[in-house]
Amino acid sequence: MNKENSKVMAVETAVKRFMNDGSHISIGGFTLNRNPMAAVYEIIRQGFKNLHLYAHSNGTGVDELIGAGCVGKLEIAYAGNGKTAATCIRFRKAVQEGTLKVEDYSNFMMSLRFLAGAMGVPFMPTLSGFGSEIITAWGFSKEMRQADPEIPDDKLVIIDNPFGMKQDASKVLLVPAINPDVTFIHVQKADTMGTCRIDGLTFADVEQAKASKHVVVTCEELVKPDALREFPERNQIPFLHVSAVCHVPYGAYPTAVYHHYDYDAVYLRAYAAAAKDDDKFLTFQKKYLYGVPNHQGLLNLAGQERLEAIKADARTGYAVNMKRG
């Protein structure tokens, strides 16, 4: 196999190669947009357990991973998913039942934590959060933190501004770096070496990817490296950071990919309805997750009509007049 193609593999292979039980992982996207769902479903089907998941607001994928019992510890800013779930349903249930250890941060704090990891510094500073119980209430106890070398001993640290009153700040909050073992992202375009081009909002995908020991990219279009060397300023993640590239069209389904397809409100509603009841949820998972061999199986269940209905309009990048309510 030549060097150029050595990163190209099936998503099943990539998940098997880079994941372990207990891995520290993160996923890209935001609520119902560009979640790496093909990879998420594969992690679930391969049955990985006790994962340590870092999230800012990666709604759909986070709730599916929690619902499948893959996650032991979660560090998160926001668990909601658009109109179908003001609070992600399996997340809420797991926290209320005490089956999931959760540590709360804010979206800026989580984004900065990935940035710190990407930059190789132990923390980043911010002026957010003073007076909030995000700082004082710890989901992970001091003892638990000290017993686990992968987690910093402190959740957050406040220091006096070392530069006097610069920026009119008397104090600064330090947020600790995150370096996940693996980050999964889904992008519009990647080349065979792993360079990525994301259209639309990048959310925190770039920082998450650059903070991670391994990055698994799934993409709508897989192209030759030359194709992305024209207008390289449109690329956000160079191949250096990437371990695996998997060509998975509709790989973010049922979440949206700007200029490719919208989120599938029908699926998300069906998920939300099922997730409220344990038995119904198991039936739902048996059909859509465990009952299919791979992501194409889920797309087949969704059917051509649904995929057509969510197809992005060329001008706006989303499905105009799609029924969402």
């Binding site: 003001a86 997340f91 804010s106 979206n107 003073f130």
Partner: protein, 257 residues
């Protein structure tokens, strides 16, 4: 009382829209806050700039986004960046001081502190909510925040079960003493009233009550008491405001229902 020809949701959206001025940078969340931002843009503040924590600035909102991660926020924007850029825009005082944010919460206290995290014990909650998202950051950074609330005793509480997003903390300058800039929630818009936070004491007071509601009814729906001596009746939405809201802002009735 006259028969209402507008819904409370419409009233709330318009009351919030009226808080937004030309030149404001409006930080919008989901649901009714998105609708209020769109109403301001289409009615009273056409030159306000709507932006989202996901990083989209001045999006062309042809269809109402149902989530800040909706691809509808990406179309026609001045810039599609990411979370870091969005929050930096608010933390940076050059731009941050122009931002007015719209937030929601499960609980609010007399100082405008918000809980969007949990009811009951944090570690073993009776009800778990989504968490901060960008709420804590926004409430920390920007000078003006509108909070949308339902006027209910369990939501206007003496003590929050969890303080997610800082308002005036314990009042009396404690916000600044903690290290925060002046800011946080200064207006609370409910299904009954518009409440404001007094800049001196840091405490909530009743500013406007909706037609058909009395200050007593409002106080009966709160765990804590507030000053009602300055309260007047709110001016209901005008025909123009209602027509624009219905026909231009939410023709699909995604939020209005």
């Amino acid at each position: 009382m006259q028969t209402q020809d507008y819904s409370l949701k419409e009233m709330m959206a318009i009351m919030a829209a009226r808080e937004i001025k030309n030149g404001d940078i409006v930080f919008a969340g989901t649901g009714i806050s998105m609708l209020a931002a769109a109403a301001a843009k289409n009615i009273n503040a056409p030159e306000c700039v709507i932006f989202f924590e996901t990083g989209a600035i001045d999006s062309a909102i042809e269809e109402l986004p149902l989530s800040v991660g909706d691809p509808r926020v990406m179309y026609g924007s001045a810039s599609n960046a990411g979370l870091l850029e969005a929050f930096a825009t608010m933390q940076n005082r050059i731009t941050g001081d122009k931002v007015i944010a719209i937030l929601g919460a499960a609980q609010i206290d007399r100082y405008g502190n918000l809980n969007t995290t949990a009811i009951g014990d944090y570690h073993q909650p009776d009800i778990r909510f989504s968490g901060s998202g960008g709420g804590c950051d926004v409430a920390s950074f920007v000078p003006r925040c509108i909070a949308f609330m339902q006027h209910e005793k369990r939501k206007f509480v003496e003590k929050l079960d969890y303080l997610t997003s800082p308002g005036q903390l314990q009042g009396g300058g404690s916000r600044e003493a903690a290290g925060l800039r002046p800011g946080g929630v200064n207006v609370v818009i409910t299904n009954m009233a518009v409440m404001r936070i007094d800049s001196e004491s840091g405490e909530m007071y009743l500013d406007r009550y909706y037609p058909g509601v009395t200050p007593k009814i409002i106080l009966d729906n709160m765990q804590f008491s507030v000053d009602v001596s300055k309260a007047k009746q709110a001016k209901p939405p005008t025909e123009t405001e209602l027509t624009t809201l219905r026909q231009k802002c939410d023709p699909q009735r995604l939020i209005l229902g």
